[in-house]
């Protein structure tokens, strides 16, 4: 265990009483509660934390926030490991382990660094120009390229953690709890608005957490505490720390992710790991602060080189020294205040290098008074060091070149600042355009297009006073717009700041040699994109912003270019000789920072991915050991194997039993729609192809439903229950769609019709008895229903009691056998089923599943919509002209049937296919060819839609859609199946009881 050599003796918002052990690259360290992994590493003197993506140069910690491009680590191990974590955002916990990525065998000695030596061969887009020969070798080149890329590793086991999702609504959502955000939340809350304040950091406060300033006369930390206490006292204000608002969608819909337990040791918290907040906000105040810009100078990537504000943050907030002799390189006065913070903490400043020829603000004078050398009109033209920056080569700036002799200034860290970029990502996502503000050399939010206000540093404010004032005003105005009538109170007051002098934009810092010929000017540190890469891209014509980005990969890393985009845009403009801002910006795409996939899924995983629908008899099927098949959302019993039976044997037994005795099947999943109203029959006439006017009460009729394109959409039996009362059944998978279809026509096209449709699928359990003994069995259990076929004929309906249970019985058949579909309340389903099974024992009743049901209907040539049809099949194709009314003037789909193609006589027709070898079952989905060739291609004339071994026909049977099939009757066709070709004969699609004699038993 090492000590913490770079830990400052005093200060910081760390709890020195809570020592935390952690490991980095398998070495043990200690830090304190309140540290981030980055601050703890710095306190331990660890500055080399990773390697660059492309050249594998040593990299350190560049920032103190979510914009970090460099310090990307693999966190944890095993099923909880997480790749590509920014060390600056990981709160330290006891036992944390992390490791560098992009390096092998170790971060100190990385073989990949050989890439750096050959870097001249790898300019931007080099891979588009090579690896093309021999053509077959790309897959081999690619194998190695893929292994070089990729940052961290995915876990190799499922995620053991849970995630949560929630909706929230508020009047005012404030994004960012820095000074502007806190002021906004206070103002809105005081006015009576429902407020949500979200901040990505571990605690609210933002920049104030590392500030020495005072507000309302209080030190910043005390003011934060007071503000939070006041918000906590409000009835409807919610403060969410560790919560990143990451996307801004239509109609003020903001998604946020709360890292509920990431700051705790793994598995130590019972709750979810993260929570996705889906917020519908009346108004949004964006107070997301600003991100400091790096300076683009030669070799600006060595460990120890970091943003000036980050250096000050590490010192003030974490009491961790980024170095002992820090050189400051900045073009603005703000960095001088950061230098002062370092000085006050006892850290040496080797010099301040400022390209401005004559900086003269009060802060500059103060620095000089403290004995620090200010090298005005100078720049850092290069750096040296191994594993850590050791010196800076400082030269005089002369126009856009450097002049004179370089002076090497020793340092172990460089604090750089090229100005600030307001964090406008969410504003941009909201649809608002950005405008370039030349005076501040930055992009600022333009006119909003949604209910959003931008305040504070995100709006370009630089002083604390301005941030507080803007935040307060935005909060008050948002509350008022949201209808809150209360008083927002006074804006918090900071001490007046001394005015800063303007910064001097310097988009590329010259060095002795031209850019690209000595040292590397990194712009995107994560993707290793340099100024020379950008210039090359422009030279090659990739000069629109998006081309530049895509060709160089600039800003495409996990940091999405937070520190690099504006520098790149400016350099592009400078290279093209345009004004900065004239070249446009790239699109800010959600998420603001990467969000865990699991958080989006929340609880909607595994069994909760999609609801499962079970019939009331599901438990019985389970006890009987039936396998289930998924049909839509339903689970349906597939077959009921007896010991030793496979599916083939079970289905053979079941199918035989139905035709010789009696079978029982659970048909509860069929869609059922109750249709009532005086115009119900008119509706049926429109949506079905046949005529319904003459259907008597108590009678049933089969119907075929078409889309307006004339293609079969659904089928089912509809029964007239009363004068104006019908019950429609649909296929299992289409129930919701058909109900929607009816409602669509009724509400939009025929609002005059007096018809009401109600889904009753789950109000009725359906048990169907099928087979010649069905009547005898049913007769034993009912006394009030006449079962004589003359009294209760096929296609009719009776109400009565079965086994003393109130029931509706329909004489309809999907097997061609005598059949009764008994419908009872779901709560009675099991009792009915058991009564039928018990009484049926002497008839050797057999339960059968969907597979046997399919075999039986195929024996009869009955279609299944979705199997014999696929959205391209008309009633005529199915040989079902008999059900298409010629008399009706119109119905849905009628006109389409008369189109040139749809009325062709040689379309694909539904036919039977009998394999030459009766024991050979044609493959379902097999394609039919008229003429076999040695090898493909072969012209196809159709395909097998259904195919089974039929125990009742004693042979294999199949149905197929075959081009011009009705004129091919008796022809031999061929079905290639793997390496073999099966010969088959075209027949009528009827294989059992073609005359239909068995319906009455």
């Amino acid at each position: 265990m090492t000590t913490q050599p770079y830990r400052l003796a005093r200060g910081g918002r760390i709890d020195r009483a809570k020592r935390l052990r952690f490991s980095f690259n398998d070495r043990a360290y200690e830090g304190y509660r309140g540290d981030t992994l980055a601050s703890a590493l710095l306190a331990n003197g660890v500055v080399l934390v990773g390697r660059g993506f492309k050249y594998h140069r040593p990299r350190g910690i560049m920032t103190a926030g979510s914009e970090e491009p460099n310090a990307i680590v693999q966190l944890g191990v095993g099923d909880r490991t997480e790749p590509n974590i920014r060390a600056t955002q990981v709160e330290l916990y006891d036992g944390l382990s992390a490791a560098s990525i992009n390096c092998w065998p170790s971060v100190e000695f990385d073989l990949g660094a050989v890439n750096g030596m050959m870097s001249r061969l790898f300019p931007a887009g080099f891979y588009y120009k090579t690896f093309m020969w021999p053509p077959s070798f790309w897959m081999k080149y690619e194998y190695f390229i893929r292994r070089m890329a990729g940052l961290g590793k995915a876990p190799d086991a499922p995620d053991p953690d849970r995630y949560d999702k929630t909706f929230a609504h508020c009047d005012v959502l404030v994004v960012g709890a820095g000074p502007a955000g806190l002021a906004a939340a206070l103002a809105a809350g005081r006015a009576g608005a429902r407020v949500i304040l979200a901040d990505e950091q571990a605690e609210p406060g933002g920049s104030l957490l590392a500030s020495g300033e005072t507000i309302n006369g209080q030190p910043a930390a005390e003011w934060i505490a007071a503000a939070l206490a006041e918000l906590a006292s409000m009835p409807d204000a919610r403060v969410l720390a560790r919560t990143t608002a990451f996307s801004y969608g239509d109609h003020n819909y903001v998604q946020m992710v709360e890292r509920v337990a990431d700051h705790l040791p793994p598995a130590s918290s019972p709750g979810p790991r993260q929570r996705l907040w889906r917020v519908r906000a009346g108004q949004v105040v964006l107070a997301a602060g600003a991100i400091e810009r790096p300076l683009v100078f030669a070799d600006n990537d060595r460990p120890g080189i970091m943003l000036a504000s980050a250096a000050a943050t590490y010192v003030r907030r974490y009491a961790a020294a980024p170095g002992r002799r820090v050189l400051v390189f900045a073009n603005n006065d703000g960095a001088y205040r950061d230098a002062l913070a370092l000085l006050d903490a006892g850290i040496g400043i080797s010099a301040i290098v400022d390209p401005r020829p004559d900086p003269g603000a009060a802060i500059v004078a103060e620095i000089r008074r403290r004995g620090i050398e200010v090298l005005a009109g100078h720049v850092v033209a290069g750096t040296k060091g191994h594993g850590r920056v050791e010196s800076a080569q400082v030269m005089k700036l002369d126009g856009d070149k450097v002049a004179g002799a370089a002076r090497s200034i020793g340092c172990d860290a460089i604090a750089m600042s090229g100005g600030w970029n307001p964090t406008v990502h969410l504003f941009s996502q909201s649809g608002g355009k950005l405008r370039f503000d030349a005076a501040r050399a930055t992009f600022l939010p333009g006119a909003p297009v949604q209910a959003i206000r931008v305040a504070g540093a995100a709006n370009g404010a630089t002083s604390l006073q301005d941030c507080l004032r803007e935040g307060h005003a935005a909060g008050a105005a948002s509350a008022a717009d949201a209808g809150a009538a209360g008083k927002a109170g006074d804006a918090p007051q900071a001490e007046p700041a001394t005015p800063d002098e303007p910064a001097m934009p310097i988009w590329i810092v010259p060095s002795v040699k031209p850019v690209g010929e000595g040292g590397k000017h990194f712009i995107d540190h994560q993707n290793d994109v340099t100024a020379a890469d950008l210039q090359l891209a422009v030279r090659e014509g990739y000069s629109s912003v998006e081309h530049l980005k895509r060709y160089t990969t600039m800003g495409m890393g996990t940091d999405q270019g937070k520190t690099s985009n504006v520098n790149a845009l400016a350099l592009l403009a400078v290279t093209l000789g345009h004004e900065v801002g004239a070249v446009g910006t790239t699109t800010f795409r959600p998420p603001y920072t990467p969000v865990t996939v699991g958080a989006f899924a929340g609880h909607d995983q595994g069994d909760l991915l999609d609801p499962v629908r079970k019939t009331p008899l599901h438990g019985w099927h389970e006890i009987m050991g039936a396998p289930f098949e998924n049909v839509g959302q339903w689970r349906r019993a597939w077959y009921y194997p007896k010991p030793g039976e496979d599916m083939h044997a079970a289905v053979g037994r079941e199918a035989k039993a139905v035709r010789t005795g009696v079978g029982i099947v659970d048909a509860s999943t069929l869609g059922k729609i109750d249709i009532q109203g005086p115009d119900a029959v008119e509706l049926l006439n429109w949506v079905y192809t046949n005529a319904w006017n003459k259907l008597e009460i108590g009678r049933c009729r089969y119907g075929l439903m078409l889309g307006e394109d004339g293609m079969v959409m659904d089928d089912g039996v509809t029964t007239r229950l009363g004068e104006n009362h019908y019950l429609m059944t649909t296929t299992t998978g289409n129930a919701a769609r058909v109900l929607g279809w009816l409602e669509n026509w009724l509400q939009c096209e025929w609002p005059h019709m007096r018809v009401y449709c109600t889904s009753v699928t789950e109000q009725w359990a359906t048990v169907a008895l099928n087979g010649p003994l069905a009547r005898r069995l049913l007769a034993e259990l009912t006394t009030d229903i006449e079962l004589d076929p003359a009294k209760f004929p096929f296609l009719s309906f009776r109400e009565g009691r079965v086994a003393a249970i109130p029931a509706r019985i329909y004489r309809i058949s999907f097997t061609g056998e005598l059949s009764y579909e008994i419908n009872v309340a779901p709560s009675h389903a099991v009792a009915l089923w058991q009564a039928l099974m018990a009484a049926g024992e002497k008839y050797a009743i057999v339960p059968y599943g969907t597979e046997t049901m399919h075999v039986l209907r195929a024996e009869k040539g009955y279609i299944i919509v979705g199997q014999e049809t696929d959205g391209t099949v008309t009633p005529h194709d199915l040989g079902m002209d008999w059900i298409v009314s010629k008399a009706k003037k119109d119905f849905i789909g009628k006109r389409s049937l008369a189109r040139a193609d749809t009325s062709r006589p040689d379309r694909k027709h539904l036919m039977g296919l009998l394999a030459e070898n009766p024991s050979e079952v044609l493959p379902e989905g097999g394609q039919v060819v008229a003429e076999v060739k040695d090898r493909p291609p072969m012209a196809m004339i159709g395909h097998v839609t259904s195919s089974y071994f039929s125990p009742n026909a004693g042979r294999s049977i199949a149905m197929a859609l075959i081009k011009n099939g009705r004129n091919r009757m008796g022809e031999t066709v061929h079905v290639p199946a793997g390496e073999r070709v099966i010969r088959a004969t075209v027949t009528e699609p009827k294989f059992f009881d073609p005359e239909g004699k068995r319906l009455d038993g």
Binding site: D250, H251, Y253, R280, G740, Q747, K889, R895, S896, A898
Partner: protein
């Protein structure tokens, strides 16, 4: 995600709704007298405007009522909702 003001239920999240496409396409009365091309105009051809779109929505996971929406297909701004059978309001973006 859109926030859609159902004329029967008030503003609800888009996930409760299903979009039914272009509104005010009346089914031709005498379809048998139309040419294939005329019929296909009803069946398939759509305005698909870039800008204000008059479209049908169904509050499928709510009241199940259909209604009309005037929505901008570029900004997704909803200018008006109105019931079936009502005349489309004129909208100036």
């Amino acid at each position: 995600m859109l926030l859609i003001p159902c004329p029967y239920c008030g503003p609800r999240e888009e996930v409760e709704f299903a979009c039914g496409g272009e509104a005010h396409i009346a089914r031709p009365a005498n379809s048998d007298r139309l040419s294939d091309a005329q019929w296909s105009d009803y069946l398939f051809m759509r305005k698909n405007p870039k800008g204000v779109h008059y479209e049908r929505w169904n509050h499928a996971r709510g009241c199940r009522r259909w209604f009309n929406v005037a929505r901008d297909t570029v900004t997704h701004r909803i200018y008006a909702v109105y019931k079936m059978g009502e005349a489309p309001p004129s909208v100036t973006p």
